[in-house]
């Protein structure tokens, strides 16, 4: 008797990634309340920062007169950071409950297991981003144009992937949900030690030095361009390059930790 032909490996891998993403989606649908903190936190930060620091636009050298427009991409990226970190916390929970052990004995390649978690975070990050953006438009943020919007959403999804790699690496290293503050604080520091609050020229000297070497500054500038000036390739490619570098470094680290866990 002839056995059925095996599907090609790439198709099996895609199906596994799809299944892991579907699992993350089911978690969201079954416990909708779990998504609230991820949506609420960036929204509170957006409303709070706008209400508190809105007068900063009066400073000479500020690039826009609308602080809502200036800060909304930061809040969207912050939402991505929180969502990615939450993916790390969920992975730590799965490790504690033994679910990851079962995945690791499956024939699925390690990178496929990581990709499922990371891509689910990317998709999930679009929820807080859309919520914050809607609030911002209601408050009078400028329309970034379709191209500006697409660039911002791409940056948000990719930043969530970066944060998920960071969170996953920490989860696999510490194997405990106790590492959650480190996952969140790390992302918060990475996103906010940039031009998040004010343009580079208006930052304090030490913050300016940090922002100049922090790759997320390029990501924020790229995500923000449609809201404050206009979209250009010159402003976009450094952001793409920064994300690629962050994904390569943190993805490699997460993969290494996963291999160590399996060994």
């Amino acid at each position: 008797m002839e056995s059925a032909a095996q599907p090609p490996e790439w198709r099996t891998n895609l199906a596994t990634i799809g299944a892991l993403m579907a699992r993350a989606k089911n978690e969201l649908l079954r416990v909708p309340g779990a998504a609230i903190p991820g949506v609420l936190a960036p929204t509170i930060f957006f409303l709070g920062l706008n209400g508190v620091f809105g007068a900063l636009t009066q400073l000479r050298g500020f690039t826009t007169g609308s602080y809502e427009s200036f800060i909304v991409p930061v809040s969207m990226l912050q939402g991505a950071g929180f969502t990615g970190a939450a993916a790390g916390v969920n992975l730590a929970r799965d490790i504690e409950q033994g679910w990851i052990d079962r995945l690791l004995v499956s024939p699925a390649p390690r990178w496929v297991l990581l990709a499922g978690n990371v891509l689910a975070a990317s998709a999930r990050a679009l929820i807080p981003a859309t919520f914050v953006l809607t609030i911002a438009f209601l408050l009078g943020a400028s329309w970034p144009g379709v191209d500006g919007l697409l660039v911002t959403y791409f940056m948000v999804a990719a930043m969530a992937a970066v944060a998920a790699c960071w969170g996953s690496a920490l989860a696999l290293r510490f194997k405990s949900q106790s590492a959650a503050p480190l996952m969140q604080a790390g992302m918060m520091a990475l996103i906010l030690t940039t031009t998040a609050y004010a343009p580079l020229a208006l930052l304090q000297p030490w913050m300016k030095s940090v922002a100049e070497v922090n790759p997320v500054t390029q990501v924020i500038d790229a995500a923000r361009q449609g809201f404050v000036t206009g979209v250009s390739w010159t402003e976009t490619w450094p952001g793409l390059l920064a994300l690629l570098a962050l994904l390569a470094i943190l993805g490699a680290w997460a993969l290494r930790e996963m291999r160590r866990t399996a060994a």
């Binding site: 209400g51 007068a55 900063l56 400073l59 604080a185 906010l192 913050m207």
Partner: protein, 261 residues
Amino acid sequence: MNELAVNARVVRALGMRSIRQTFRRPQLMAPILIFPTLLLAIQTGGAGGAVHLEGFPPVQSFLQFMLAGAMMQSLMLAGNSGGIALAVDIEMGFTDRLFTAPIPRYTIVLGRLAGTAALGLFASVWFLAIGLIFGAEIHSGVPGVLIAMVLVTATAMAVGGIGAAIALRTGSASVVQGLFPLVLVLLFLSSAFFPNDLMIQPAKAIAEYNPLSLVVEGIRGPIIADVDLGELGAAVLAIAGIVALGLLLSARALRHRLRVG
């Protein structure tokens, strides 16, 4: 030993327990110290140019201005963490065991609040030290430092009372943990991070009536200027109001907890 001394020993023992719990678990310390410190650094570095805005009060630096806000954030989160820890005690049955012990019920809440107050004191020392290390001056000197420490400690205890009341009422750590965003909302809607006059509406209008603004101005006052008795009195009154609210809610929640078990 008289009854008061025995009760004081119970409060001390429970207070020490709650402090040890917090210091043993990094996930409890992180929100109290790490996040406010991180935010202090980020806001100081990112929005430091604000001191050049017309109408900004005369300050030596933005860090000097922000110290009170960081302390407020820390003490609010300490109060919230105290509530979470009490709710965990309820969930795990530890509070039930205390209820059966021959001690007055109020010592159970007071023990937790003593721990929260100690964390508030620690937070005030932490942030004043950070300020001094990074060049912020305490304008009114040692009296200013002492006033800030006393106000922060008292406010931590007052806010902790509200956290304890919610914990006793709900008996659920996740509900108390869910209040974390509310803490941030209350802070953003006060003058913790920016002068009220320079805030944008409607945050400005709300901040004007938020009692936390009075407390933060009381803490900030001696840091950026001379001691102002009027400002200090307003802060003490606001703290007394929060204490009264916490006591009332805690007493009612305690009765509810004893009734439902």
